[in-house]
């Protein structure tokens, strides 16, 4: 079994300040972890992924995330928020079990960026 908990449903930051979106997971398998971003009325775009290589993962648009197995966390960070970062962010866990891939989404965190 696996699950994903996004600890904040809404996060509000000022433009130019750091962003932290929190994600904890549990999995009985060897998971891969992803962060996706979704702008209004759009599909989901991959920000970054962890697939058992380096624990610090760099993604697009200045985002990065650190996989911490001991804390079962995969928090998303960015040093300086931009207005264009305002969107919904989803933490996703996938694992291969029983012959096919199982995918679990977090509930999403809506990021608001204040000018």
């Amino acid at each position: 079994a696996q699950s994903v908990t996004q600890l904040d449903s809404h996060v509000s930051v000022s433009e130019g300040t750091p962003v932290l979106l929190r994600c904890n997971y549990s999995s009985s398998y060897s998971p891969s972890l992803f962060w996706y971003v979704q702008h209004p009325n759009k599909g989901l775009q991959l920000l970054l992924k962890y697939t058992s290589a380096a624990t610090l993962v760099k993604g697009i648009n200045g985002f990065e995330a650190e996989f911490k197995k001991s804390e079962t966390s995969f928090h998303l960070t960015k040093p300086s928020a931009h207005m264009s970062d305002a969107a919904e962010y989803f933490c996703v866990v996938t694992a291969y079990s029983g012959g096919y891939q199982k995918v679990t989404f977090g509930i999403g965190t809506k990021l608001q960026v204040i000018p």
Binding site: S32, F34, Y36, N41, K42, G43, L44, Q45, L46, K49, T51, F90, V92, T94, A95, Y96, G99, Y100, Q101, V103, F105, G106, I107, G108
Partner: protein, 119 residues
């Protein structure tokens, strides 16, 4: 860059009518997913195919929804009859076959989605 294609992008229909959505995954992707996303919520898996076989349809309302992927390539999701509560974004995604040597990461590639409004 290869993309997941979905159509139509927008669909407005009246309740009790039939509606269909089409998805063409990235070439070579064995796994195809249909998600429903109600406004303000996360995606909910409706059905997952591996090649032409359904591997998970536990959340598909089978009295009104059906999905097929006859040749293991493109897929159609149908709703008949549509109800007001079906208003949502329907997202299609695809991924490589699990275990594909040197390439498989588990990443899902999403289409732009089909926005359904039921009046």
């Amino acid at each position: 860059e290869a993309e997941v294609a979905q159509s139509p992008r927008y669909k407005i229909t009246e309740k009790s009518q039939a509606v269909a959505f089409w998805c063409d995954p990235i070439s070579g992707h064995a796994t195809l997913y249909w998600y429903r996303q109600i406004l303000g919520q996360g995606p909910e898996l409706l059905v997952q195919f591996q090649d032409e076989s359904v591997v998970d349809d536990s959340q598909l309302p089978k009295d009104r929804f059906s999905a097929e992927r006859l040749k293991g390539v493109d897929s159609t999701l149908k709703i008949q009859p549509a109800e007001l509560g079906d208003s949502a974004m329907y997202l299609c995604a695809s991924s490589l076959r699990p275990g594909t040597s040197g390439q498989f990461t588990g990443e899902l590639f999403f289409g732009e989605g089909s926005r359904l409004t039921v009046l």
